[in-house]
């Protein structure tokens, strides 16, 4: 395949997200400006100007009208996707790391980093249909995990919130009361910081990637470990194909170690694994730096990867990808 290279960001990429229809791709990077691209040919549509810090993650509403972004400048902003206008700003006491719309886009879960005396926290905010009626107040604030919470997402039917972070433990919280419902088993769980988490298309299972060079597949309701995928590199980003039983892991070494070792151009790869057999299917090389973000198009026929090199690479699969057999 011929990947489409999009160099819109000056700094490393942090997050990629497709909209529900699969025609728009939102990219967040450390350069303060989330960007939206057309997902078929990679043409840039626009940028959202307003943040003063690295943008760590974003989410888009199902109708592709609203974008929510979480940034290191301690704010979470709501944007009009079409015009790029800022609709609302939530202020926090510490950098915001992960944002996720609920099913129905009425609520959003936001995590904030530990900062000075503040511990990390998970906030649930109500999102008003009309941005002028938006309020700052939180529906729920959950505190408890030590260290950064790298990702928090809604569970099935918005009843639960799944969080994962630096303490390597996945937790499931009740979204109404904030009570801790389940914790992942320490023996079989990750051993190092969990960097990324992605849900399956139907929400029944999710995949976490960690710096311990593995990714694990979990059941959302019972939090039992289903599968483990082992790589040679710390995992920074994970994605699951909505069409085939494939998982993709992206990672790399620490940036400081990169220059001291063999630096053949474009050797950082996104590794494909068979979801059920846990075996490696192959890798797609091309990035010049560790891969920090991965996303599959909801139609499963293309995927994109964002790297430390500032490039977003959009890959449309060749027909023989769909015929791969182990």
């Amino acid at each position: 395949m011929r990947p489409i290279l999009m160099k819109g960001h000056e700094r490393p990429l942090t997050f990629l997200k497709y909209n529900r229809d699969g025609d728009l791709l939102f990219s967040c990077a450390k350069d303060h400006t989330p960007t939206v691209w057309f997902a078929d040919n990679g043409e840039r549509l626009g940028t959202y100007r307003g943040h003063n810090g690295a943008v760590w993650s974003c989410d888009v509403s199902r109708d592709s009208m609203r974008l929510i972004t979480g940034s290191a400048d301690q704010t979470v902003k709501l944007w009009n996707v079409q015009t790029g206008a800022q609709l609302y700003t939530f202020n926090f006491g510490s950098p915001a790391r992960s944002v996720d719309f609920s099913v129905g886009d009425k609520l959003a879960v936001i995590t904030t980093d530990p900062f000075m005396e503040l511990t990390s926290a998970i906030h649930v905010k109500r999102i008003a249909r009309d941005p002028t009626e938006q309020t700052e107040e939180s529906e729920l604030v959950i505190k408890g995990p030590q260290g950064r919470i790298n990702r928090a997402v809604w569970g099935p039917l918005n009843r639960t919130i799944v969080s994962a972070g630096e303490d390597a433990v996945i937790r499931i919280w009740d979204s109404e009361t904030g009570k801790l419902l389940r914790e992942a088993d320490k023996e079989s769980g990750h051993k190092k910081t969990i960097t990324s988490l992605t849900k399956s298309a139907d929400g029944s299972h999710f995949l976490t990637g960690s710096l311990d060079k593995s990714a694990k597949l979990w059941d959302t309701r019972s939090l039992t470990l289903i599968k483990t995928y082992v790589t040679e590199r710390p995992v920074n980003a994970v994605a699951m194909s909505p069409l085939l039983d494939h998982v993709v892991l992206g990672g790399g070494q620490d940036a400081s170690a990169v220059t001291t070792t063999d630096h053949r151009a474009g050797k950082f790869e996104a590794k494909f694994f068979d979801k059920i057999l846990q075996e490696e299917i192959g890798g797609v090389k091309g990035h010049f730096g560790p891969i920090n973000a991965l996303a599959f198009n909801p139609d499963g026929k293309s995927f994109s990867s964002g790297g430390e090199d500032g490039y977003v690479r959009l890959h449309h699969f060749d027909p023989d990808y769909f015929n791969i057999k182990i």
Partner: protein, 310 residues
């Protein structure tokens, strides 16, 4: 009778066959030398542009004729491959979004902005190699060594378990019995040096050559680096010459220089020589594989050229 200016045919592509002047003749008669200025547009004399549309491989040819700077008629054939970008079947809303106006930094986008480019390289989903083969091994040394082994009586000595004739050291099934001698030639030295740097605190800056796992090749220029990657070969047979060493060591990587010490009086080899590699890793692999290798009835000794080896 033409009454027409004769053009010498151009340098590009095919020469124009001038033997059919009839189409031009009617135009030619209106055409007078005296009235002609240097840069008059003589395009009407040229055959029209042809477009041979996209064939089944996606190749499109456009044949144009023009005048080059010397006034020669030239035929220019442009061959392009037309690639179809994957088109998603978009729903109604997506089609509407396609027509949205650009905003933010994209407002002033100009056509040549090159923010979005199709990769020039074809990237494939590389399947992993079959189990039993190391990913780092290049196929070539494996193949040529296999060929060499078929040639004569070769002893496959494994240094880990001492078993002969079964497997090479790197494929030793008993690898955990003895720790590898030197996985990274530089590591012992580099790690001592980097203790100070890493000891000062996680996240403290250490220059690349002092970081853990750093290879010491940083900083030397090409020539000196070659001499650092010099390998000494001893216990060579009398008739071994430079080309033999080159043939033996080349499968491991690029070799810049081979030298065999010769006895001037007898014209035979003095039994030793040197091979300079471009890459240190290739030299290391050559040492690993060929030390103890049987060549021309003698067991070769291959090691780093200077005991320093860094």
């Amino acid at each position: 009778m033409y009454g027409v200016v004769h053009f010498t045919t151009g340098s590009l592509n095919m020469p124009i066959d001038k033997s059919d002047p009839n189409p031009n003749q009617s135009k030619a008669s209106k055409f007078r030398w005296g009235e002609l200025e240097e840069d008059d547009n003589l395009d009407f004399l040229l055959p029209p542009k042809e477009v041979i549309g996209t064939d089944e491989n996606g190749i499109k040819k456009v044949i144009e004729y023009k005048f080059n700077d010397e006034g020669n008629k030239v035929k220019i054939t442009t061959t392009t491959r037309v690639r179809k970008l994957a088109k998603a079947r978009l729903n109604r809303r997506a089609v509407e979004r396609r027509n949205w106006e650009k905003f933010g930094d994209a407002v002033h986008e100009y056509v040549g902005s090159r923010l979005t480019m199709v990769s020039t390289e074809e990237i494939i989903l590389e399947r992993p190699r079959a189990p039993g083969m190391k990913a780092e091994e290049i196929k070539v040394p494996g193949d040529s060594l296999a060929q060499l082994s078929k040639g004569g009586a070769v002893l496959m000595v494994c240094r880990t378990c001492g078993k002969k004739g079964d497997h090479w050291t790197s494929k030793c099934p008993y690898k955990d019995l003895a720790a590898p001698v030197e996985t990274f030639v530089d590591k012992p030295v580099a790690s001592e040096a980097s203790v100070a740097a890493s000891g000062s605190g996680k996240g403290a800056y250490g220059p690349p050559s002092m970081r853990a796992g750093a290879e010491r090749t940083a900083g030397s220029d090409m020539r000196r680096r070659n001499d650092e990657n010099s390998v000494r070969v001893t216990n060579l047979s009398e008739d071994t010459r430079e080309p033999d060493l080159l043939e033996l060591f080349r499968p491991f990587g690029a070799v810049t220089r081979v030298y065999v010490a010769m006895d001037q009086k007898t014209g035979t080899s003095r039994g030793f020589g040197f091979v300079n590699f471009v890459n240190r890793e290739d030299a290391q692999r050559a040492i690993n594989k060929l030390n103890g290798y049987g060549y021309d009835n003698l067991i070769l000794r291959v090691k780093w050229a200077t005991p320093r080896a860094n």
